[in-house]
């Protein structure tokens, strides 16, 4: 990890780049810094804390925020008194590990790499230039980023909702307004024509959270043009917010007037019908958009990566992470404004794309660690070694460590006790390994910091000394003790003793646990031959893994076959044909059409799936599976669909446009109705693609016959991100837009060959009737989940029928079950570029498993004691990983250690304690409890 660094230049060609990196001095030795915080506590220089949007202060020596990785301090040379004036140096004096190095200098280095991924991110739009919102003039107008910090537990007010103007009094606001599209969808004042995609959702979230944090009944109002909550479960969240009292006002805010008398801010806004309103709020949040910072633009220029007019990477829907420079890839907000799940998908996609050409070099630079043979400790009485850590003064400054060490000597089974300044330092590790051998220790307890960060290190030391790595226990006397009770050394010392006694009590009962290696099949199974499935299959094949591709119909291509063009205008047919041709020619890819999955068993690395294709059965051994089963178009029951020939869906309209249907050429009036079958009670989700799709078709009709009137009846136009350009173009070309209310939807009646559509003009507020030659319905995207595949792979499906990923934000292509991944429409409606990203991401995640020779099974997993199991299957139901099954032979439950993640849900459920979580078994836990209560 190279921090504080900038890329100066990239030379060479894909597969052989030389990257010149300039690293700024940190002035703190990362190897020595233990992040104890003494330096920052004593540093006399206070500066604005950028992380908290300048709402509070930090010191000149600092970590940006508490979860920063690496957790190492840095000196900010802009402010450091010593670096500026040569005096002070307090941090150097107080640092217990001598980590301060004022002589640190800037370094440059050249890295040899095969591919480059650019993920420089975005910055929040600065509304200071927009005078109309009074931002910067009055403290109670804040940006959404500032408000985010106000709500945060690690923020300036500790998570309390505070009106910024109230100072030390910390009074709560009573009424907050959010103004959407500040610095987005705006070409007059800030030249950001695009939609920032994420602000609608974060504003709703902030309003809900603000109400949660408020002690009273906080009034929240969101002023918006279109609510763009097109993501998975976002609409549901918004509807919930509405029900729970968040007010949504469709209005463009004209201005925010600073307080005249009192503290209230006055909002002037125009309603849709043109009436002007004025309303008072005590805090106004500006939902600022995303933009690419000038530094990033400069970097792109330096590297020769072409950007579009909005400074985002010029993209390609079928290659969404590529840049104009071969071998250089981009992801995240740099390729267009996007939310977290999409960014995470793109990040994995970039990893997939960047490693395709490097696959041949895989494992060429890895080293294998050789460990000594494990000592057999069975039958030996416990000989516990206790290592108590001072952590510099982190622990030792509060807890009287010598006293704790002395106490540890009195505990049963303890044969060796040692006190260290830093137990985690390399020399201590060497010494620990030596002590284990010399003192014949067979259990080790380290009383120090958290196992979360340090357990693997100590376990490795045990392994290097020939002890099983599970004969180790940690007592966290830092995070749980010295940090908490910093002002009470006596109590902290007592607690440290208790914690050590508990760890020793458990350690005496530890047993060695084994991990077995299972072979890993290198084959992948991809279910679904649409764009997502094809892309995933191609990505894996390019990585060198054999792929079995299963398609239920007789041809590959899925929905892509019916689409004319992407929103960027790329011809889908051509690109799809090229993709299919590449796969058909690839010897690593085996394609099964007219096929379906009939049977699945096994687990990651060792799946056995039976696929039936053309009445033949194929047994496939595979290591991973990617589910890309797609979705289908809703068959509308609304608006005379199926009853009148002039009513079609948008996909059918694609066909009409593609074939140059004469009905279109002669049409004078065409009506589009959006949200048909979406965002209703039955399907409370947004189908995401229809707004853009409809506008693409509108533009195609206008291009062929500019005089055709096109009426788009919509609820919210969701042309998110750079798609907003299409919306602007459509308006410029004369497409007419009418917003309708779901309570009063348009009415369609047959009128001879035409369809008479009646709707309300939202500006004139009176009914309008159009006799349309053609009525095109934006039909919902509907899950195709009835195929039962989810049950085969034991993966969850949500209430709307979409496959449910492991984590909606951070693990968007994984399931809780290892080795099964998802992508494409089966996950949620999405346009082609996002499907391709997700497919690449799924391939990248799958490759992380396929690249291994073996998988390790065992360790901290559950085991069911047959002597206690009554076969009630209670544990089977509560296992979140489907790792437990009933044995048909014994009638008892059995754990598959390859699937078990050691969560212990089974152990907590069984009244007979039949499931035993190895390494955390009940005997060990009871011993800890008894030890804690005995003190």
């Amino acid at each position: 990890m190279i921090t504080l660094a900038e890329v100066e230049s990239i030379e060479g060609a894909p597969g052989d780049f030389q990257v010149l990196v300039r690293q700024h001095p940190r002035y703190v030795d990362m190897d020595k810094c233990i992040a104890c915080g003494q330096c920052a506590a004593k540093c006399p220089k206070k500066v604005d804390d950028e992380y908290n949007a300048g709402l509070n202060k930090r010191k000149a020596i600092y970590v940006p925020y508490s979860q920063a990785v690496p957790l190492k301090y840095a000196i900010d040379p802009r402010y450091c008194i010593f670096l500026e004036k040569g005096r002070c140096g307090v941090c150097e004096k107080v640092c217990p590990s001598g980590a301060i190095n004022f002589k640190d200098t800037e370094k440059t280095r050249t890295l040899a790499v095969g591919s480059v991924v650019l993920a420089p991110g975005f910055r929040s739009f600065d509304p200071k230039g927009l005078k109309i919102y009074s931002y910067g003039e009055t403290p109670n107008v804040v940006t959404s980023l500032e408000f985010e910090r106000i709500l945060s537990a690690t923020g300036p007010f500790g998570g309390h909702l505070v009106k910024p103007s109230s100072g030390k009094a910390r009074t709560e606001p009573k009424k907050i307004a959010w103004i959407q599209c500040v610095g987005s969808r705006e070409i007059n004042r800030c030249d950001h024509g695009y939609c920032s995609s994420v602000c609608c959702m974060y504003a709703v979230k902030q309003a809900v959270m603000a109400r949660d944090h408020s002690s009273g009944d906080l009034e929240c109002a969101i002023f918006y043009m279109d609510m763009r909550t097109q993501g998975k479960d976002f609409d549901r969240y918004m509807e919930n917010a509405k029900r729970n009292g968040v007010r949504f006002v469709r209005a463009r805010v004209h201005s925010v007037a600073p307080p005249q008398h009192g503290e209230d801010l006055s909002l002037r806004y125009a309603r849709q019908d043109g009436t002007i309103e004025e309303e008072a709020f005590d805090v106004v949040v500006l939902s600022t958009g995303l933009e690419i910072s000038p530094e990033v633009v400069a970097l792109a220029e330096k590297l020769g990566v072409p950007l579009n007019a909005d400074h985002f990477v010029e993209g390609d829907s079928f290659d969404p992470v590529a840049t104009g420079k071969p071998g250089v890839f981009a992801c995240g907000a740099f390729t267009g404004p996007k939310d977290i799940p999409h960014s995470v998908m793109e990040a994995s996609a970039a990893a997939a794309a960047a490693t395709e050409s490097l696959a041949v070099a895989r494992h060429s630079q890895t080293h294998t660690l050789v460990l000594p043979k494990e000592i057999d400790v069975s039958g030996q009485p416990p000989r516990i070694g206790v290592f108590v850590c001072n952590c510099g003064i982190n622990i030792g400054g509060v807890v009287r460590v010598p006293e704790v060490a002395e106490y540890a000597r009195t505990l049963p089974n303890v044969t060796y006790v040692e006190e260290n300044l830093f137990t985690c330092s390399q020399d201590t590790q060497d010494k620990m390994a030596e002590v284990i051998g010399r003192e014949k220790l067979n259990r080790v307890v380290v009383a120090a910091c958290t196992p979360r960060t340090h357990e693997p290190l100590f376990q490795a030391t045990l392994a290097s000394a020939g002890l099983n790595r599970y004969l180790f226990e940690m007592a966290n006397i830092r995070n749980q003790d010295s940090w908490v009770h910093a002002n009470d050394p006596d109590a902290a010392t007592r607690k440290a003793k208790d914690l050590v006694a508990m760890a020793v009590a458990k350690a005496a009962l530890l047993t060695p646990l084994t991990q077995t290696e299972l072979p890993m099949s290198r084959n992948a199974l991809v279910v679904g031959g649409g764009i997502a499935g094809l892309t995933a299959a191609r990505a894996l094949a390019r990585q060198g893994f054999p792929v079995h591709l299963v398609e239920k119909s007789d041809v590959l291509g899925g929905h892509g076959r019916r689409l004319r063009a992407t929103w960027r205008g790329e011809p889908v047919g051509e690109r799809l044909a090229a993709l299919i041709a590449e796969l058909e020619a690839d010897p690593l890819v085996r394609i099964y059409t007219n096929a379906k999955v009939a049977e699945v068993e096994g687990f990651v690395g060792n799946f056995k799936t039976v696929v039936t294709a053309d009445r033949q059965s194929h047994a496939i051994d595979h290591g991973v599976a990617i589910l890309a089963t797609g979705a289908k178009e809703y068959k509308p029951r609304e608006y005379l669909y199926g009853q009148h020939p002039a009513v079609v869906t948008q996909t059918e309209l694609d066909d009409l446009i593609g074939s140059g249907d004469p009905r279109l050429a002669g049409a004078t009036d065409v009506v589009f109705i959006q949200c048909v079958g979406s965002r209703n009670a039955e399907r409370p989700y947004c189908s995401k693609v229809c707004c853009t799709h409809a506008l693409r078709n509108a533009l195609a009709i206008k291009a062929a016959s500019p005089d055709t009137n096109i009426y788009v009846l919509y609820r919210d136009m969701r042309t998110y991100g750079l798609r907003e350009e299409i919306f602007r173009e459509a308006r410029a070309k004369g497409v007419l837009f009418f917003q309708y209310d779901p309570e009063a939807p348009p009415v369609a009646e047959a009128s001879g060959d035409r369809v008479r559509v009646t709707f309300r003009d939202h500006i004139l507020n009176r009914p309008v009737t159009v006799d349309a030659d053609l009525l095109a319905l934006a039909a919902a995207v509907v899950s195709d989940a009835e195929n039962g595949l989810a049950q085969f792979f034991k993966v969850p499906v949500d209430g709307d029928g979409w496959l449910l990923e492991a984590h909606q934000k951070l693990r968007p292509v994984d399931f809780a079950t290892d080795g099964v991944f998802l992508c494409g429409l089966a996950h949620y409606p999405k346009p082609i570029d996002e499907s391709v990203s997700q497919a690449l991401a799924a391939a990248a995640r799958a490759a992380t498993f396929l690249a291994r020779d073996t998988i390790l099974v065992g360790g901290v997993v559950s085991w069911i004691d047959p002597a206690r199991c009554t076969g009630c299957a209670g544990c089977v139901q509560v296992c979140p990983y489907n790792a437990i099954a009933m044995s048909e032979i014994t009638g008892m439950a059995e754990v598959n250690p390859a699937l078990c993640k050691g969560c212990g849900a089974c152990a907590a459920t069984c009244p007979s304690e039949a499931p035993i979580l190895m390494g955390f078994n009940n005997r060990q836990l009871y011993a800890q409890i008894h030890s804690a209560l005995a003190a």
């Binding site: 508490s66 979860q67 537990a153 998570g159 849900a905």
Partner: protein, 93 residues
């Protein structure tokens, strides 16, 4: 699952007359303030509830029974069982 079990147990303990001594809250590692507020609040609750009645109740019970058997007019089976004088360890004592 934890939520289900703990909520159930809270109701059951309330039925037994032991309300307020069990509390469940989800606090992430980033929510130090909330953790402090919760622990402080819970400590304060426990302090106001006073020491566990279990201890004193157990002692009172044995005192009464061994010192003065209460007369009973009902069927024999309803009388408190006789307690031997020795050999009893007091629960939670």
């Amino acid at each position: 699952m934890t939520l289900k079990r703990m909520t159930f147990l809270q109701h059951l303990l309330d039925f037994m007359g032991l309300a307020g001594r069990l509390h469940l809250e989800w606090i992430s590692s980033a929510e130090a303030q909330r953790f402090v507020a919760t622990v402080t609040g819970f400590t304060e609750t426990i302090r106001r509830l006073g020491p566990s009645p279990l201890r004193s109740a157990a002692l009172r019970r044995y005192d009464n029974i061994s010192a003065a058997p209460v007369p009973c007019s009902g069927p024999a089976s309803l009388q408190p069982p006789a307690m031997p004088d020795s050999g009893i360890q007091i629960a939670n004592g």
